[in-house]
Every structure is written in structure tokens, then in C-alpha cells.
Amino acid sequence: MNVYGLDMDAVSFSYPDGGKVLGGLTLRAGPGIRLGLVGANGAGKSTLLGLVAGIIEPDGGSVTIGGLLLGKRTLKEIRSRLGFVFQDPDDQLFTGSVFDDVAFGPRNLGMEEGTVRERTESALRTVGIPELSDRPPFRLSGGEKRMAAIATVLSMDPGLLVLDEPSAALDPKARRRLIGLLSSLPQTMLIATHDLDLALELCDEVAVLHAGRVAARGSAADILGDGELLDRCGLEAPLSIRACPVCGKRAAL
């Protein structure tokens, strides 16, 4: 498997009816890096993810994945290189069974049904839900849906994973399983999240998005430990590194 890095260079975007959402944004993630993307609501996280996946087109600037420039002609190839996990798994699981959903991508890539089956089963094993293969997606729990949604992109063997709020609406155990799974995967990851504890635990680096720009970028510990920065950008420090409300002690990083 190829692991692809991500390059965004001076990307700008505005909605036809609204103001500018992103203005000249530059962001890099080297191959194999897990990059967290944090920022308050409306900071432009979802827009940025949409631009990376080619769901929306930028007004200016360029997006490159594994050295391949995103454009109309490369869209198909780009999309086979990245796996996009939606915030709401119900958007991603649209067929009648988990198996068909996970097999959807490989089938569209024109693979033999035997290969499709192999890939699908392997993806389901990776996320730990091989027994749910025949279930209809609407009968899954939130955690199972999330895992199934991740399997739908893993079956396409992507080199870059783009995840939008992966821990949203998960119970603590399911969230823990998710963190375990993501930390075991080799892909480059771009993870947009409000769950700063998850970012701290999972990400090598974190970028703070504020008003359509990258306000700061650095190692997860540095960025998420900077209370003043986070406060300025409408965030607050992760619980795990705040002083204990009972004894006042700070956890060691």
C-alpha cells in the first residue's frame, strides 16, 4: 500500500451566497503523519475537508495528494487515493447490508467479485465487525456504524484517510475502540475534530483553524497545551491536561 502525503497551497474558497470561508490556506501533512484539525464551529473545517476530497472546488490555490495535483482530470485517481469518512455514518452506509456498503467501492473500481469479497472481509476484520456483514446498516449501534463506515473506505485501500468528527456521538467504549483502531492504521490521516482529548492522544501534529486560516500548527502537545491560543480560537484545553479540579495537580505529558 502507498501512503500519501497531503499538500494544500494557498487554497481559498467562498460560498456563492456568503463571505469568504477560507483565505489563502496552506497546510501540509507528510506521509504517515496523523494531523489533527481543530477549530470552533464555522472555522472552516468541513469546507477544508470537502476541498481535499474534491467535493467542492477551490477558488484558488492547489491541493496535491501523493504528488498528484487535484483537478477535473485527476479526480478519479485522487479519490481512489483517499478515504473520506463522513461525520454521520448514515450518509456513508446507503445500501441494504454492511457487506454491500463495504463492497461498494471495490466494485466501482471494477474488481473481480472474488477480490471484492476478499477486500471486504479483510476490511471488516480490520475494524473488528466481521460478524455484522449481513446486517442492514440501520440496525447497527452508533459505534458499529462508525466502524462500518471506516471499513467502507479501507476496502478501497486508500493512502490517506480524511475523517470528519470520527468520535461524534460515540459512547466511551466505542470511542476507545475507535482510537485503538486509528492508531493501528498506517495511513496518513487528516482528522477534523472537536474532541481535543482524542486529538492529543492520536495525532502527531495539530493545526488550529480560525477564521479561515491556520492560526497555529505544531506538535499535539505544544498546541493543545497552549491555553491562551486555544481560548483565542474559541476552544479550550483538553481535560486530560487541565489541572485536576480536586487536587489541582497537572498531569504529566
Binding site: 463522513f86 445500501t95 441494504g96 467501492g105 466501482n108 469479497r117 446486517r135
Partner: protein, 273 residues
């Protein structure tokens, strides 16, 4: 009847039933669909006053119910939901057709025959539809439709509908509850809320469809829906399907009931003699 939570529960329960295993569930969906189609045509082809000739067809739902480990209660609940409207129409039959006919030793209005006939057909057809979805499930029905040559796009739309019905029902159930909790004793949603409530749901659904479309496109969808290979149509499937179809044909073209009756009469005569 129009209760989103209850509808959702019914929807879930049928889905649950269809994922069981039994000698019927294990049959190829095309065999199940074909048997159902044959059954429907057989039932509907009986005239409006045929009663006794239809009765042997009850073997199909009764036997299927037993073989598929389904409980009659599930079926009756469904029947109870739709029966009143049809029976109300059927109950007009004796009013409009009062000419007397003889039924064995009794004389009744001819309309009662068509009433009973309609009730029997209602029970049989509702049972057959229930048994089909409770054994083949939505995916099985889709396979059946594919085998019948229905355009893929139509099946895809149907499957997408099925996929999102549960989600939207849950949303509507939540909305209705939120509305009920704040609307006092009034029944139903007031006029000023018709637009915002339904319109809001519509816009959210529309947005969801956009995201689903994106999710499809991101995984290489180009308008051509690809499905896996269908399961093999085995000997047991052929046997299942052909036995039922032959039975339906037998009942349809030969007076099985009459034959049974004459046999009994003959026996009785023999005993008397």
C-alpha cells in the same frame, strides 16, 4: 395507525424476521418471489363469489408460516391494520346483491358469498405479502425484481428508500414527540407549523441526499450500480418453487374442494349403506 414509533417498530420487526434461518428463509429469493407471484395470481383469479374453491390455498400461508418459524400473531397484527377498510367495502355486497342463493341447507343473500370470498382473498393476499418480506427481506425482493428484469435504477431507488425510511421515521417520531410535549391537548399539528415542520424535514432530507451522493461519488460511483453475483439457484429452490406453483395451478384448474367434498360424501354413503 399513523404512528411513527409504531411504524418504525413494525419495520424493524419484519427486518428481524427476514434474517432468521429456516427451510423457507434458506430458499433462493427468486424462488420465494416467484411462488408469491403465482399465489397472488391464483388467488385473484377466483371469481367474486367463489368461496370453497379458494380454501385449499390456505395451505400455502399456513405451511409457510410453520416452516419459516413465524408466529401467526405478527401476521394478524398486519391483517388487523388493513382489514377494516376493505371489509367495509365488502360489507356493502349483501346490500347491493340481495338475491338469495342456497348454501348447503341454508338460503342467504348472494352478497354474503362475495363478502366471505373477499375476506378470504384479503387474508390470503396480505399473508402472502407478509410472508414474502418476512422470509426474503428487502434484499431478497430486490434480487427477485432484478431477476424479473426491472431496471436497475428503479431497484436502487427502492433500496435507498428502504435504507432511509427507518432513519426518517425515527426523526419524525422525535419531532412528533417534541411537538406533543409542548402542544397541550390539541390533536395533530396546527396549520402554522405545517410548512416549517414538513419543510424543515424536507430540507434536511435534501441535504442528506446531497451528502449520500458525495459519499457515493467518493467511492467511485458513476451512475452505474454494480451488484455482486446472485446466490446459486439450487435444486431445493427449484423444487420449492415448482411444487408450490403446481399446487396453485391444481387448485386453480381443478375443483380440489369439490373433489374432497365428494370423497367425504362418498365415504358417508358407503357407511350408511
Amino acid at each position: 395507525m399513523r404512528d411513527p414509533s409504531r411504524t418504525l417498530a413494525a419495520f424493524y420487526s419484519i427486518d428481524e424476521l427476514s434474517r432468521r434461518r429456516s427451510p423457507v428463509h434458506d430458499r433462493h429469493p427468486v424462488a420465494l418471489c416467484a411462488s408469491t407471484a403465482g399465489f397472488m395470481i391464483a388467488v385473484a383469479s377466483f371469481g367474486r363469489r367463489d368461496v370453497s374453491a379458494i380454501l385449499p390455498l390456505f395451505l400455502y400461508p399456513v405451511l409457510t408460516l410453520a416452516l419459516a418459524d413465524l408466529r401467526p400473531a405478527e401476521l394478524f397484527r398486519r391483517l388487523a391494520a388493513v382489514a377494516p377498510a376493505i371489509l367495509a367495502i365488502a360489507a356493502l355486497n349483501p346490500v347491493f346483491e340481495s338475491a338469495p342463493v342456497r348454501v348447503g341447507p341454508w338460503t342467504v343473500a348472494g352478497g354474503w358469498l362475495s363478502f366471505v370470498s373477499l375476506a378470504a382473498k384479503l387474508t390470503l393476499t396480505v399473508s402472502a405479502a407478509f410472508l414474502l418480506v418476512a422470509t426474503a427481506g428487502m434484499n431478497g425482493v430486490a434480487a427477485g425484481l432484478r431477476a424479473a428484469g426491472i431496471p436497475k435504477l428503479i431497484i436502487l431507488v427502492l433500496q435507498t428508500t428502504y435504507r432511509y425510511v427507518a432513519l426518517l421515521l425515527a426523526e419524525v417520531a422525535g419531532m412528533s414527540r417534541a411537538h406533543e410535549l409542548r402542544s397541550g391537548p390539541r390533536k395533530g399539528v396546527g396549520r402554522t407549523l405545517w410548512g416549517p415542520m414538513l419543510g424543515g424535514l424536507l430540507l434536511r432530507s435534501y441535504d442528506r441526499a446531497g451528502r449520500v451522493h458525495d459519499a457515493m461519488g467518493l467511492r467511485g460511483f458513476d451512475g452505474e450500480f454494480r451488484t455482486g453475483k446472485a446466490a446459486r439457484f439450487g435444486k431445493a429452490d427449484a423444487l420449492y418453487c415448482s411444487s408450490w406453483l403446481s399446487f396453485f395451478a391444481l387448485v386453480r384448474f381443478v375443483d380440489v374442494t369439490g373433489a374432497l367434498g365428494r370423497m367425504m360424501e362418498g365415504l358417508a354413503f358407503g357407511v350408511v349403506r
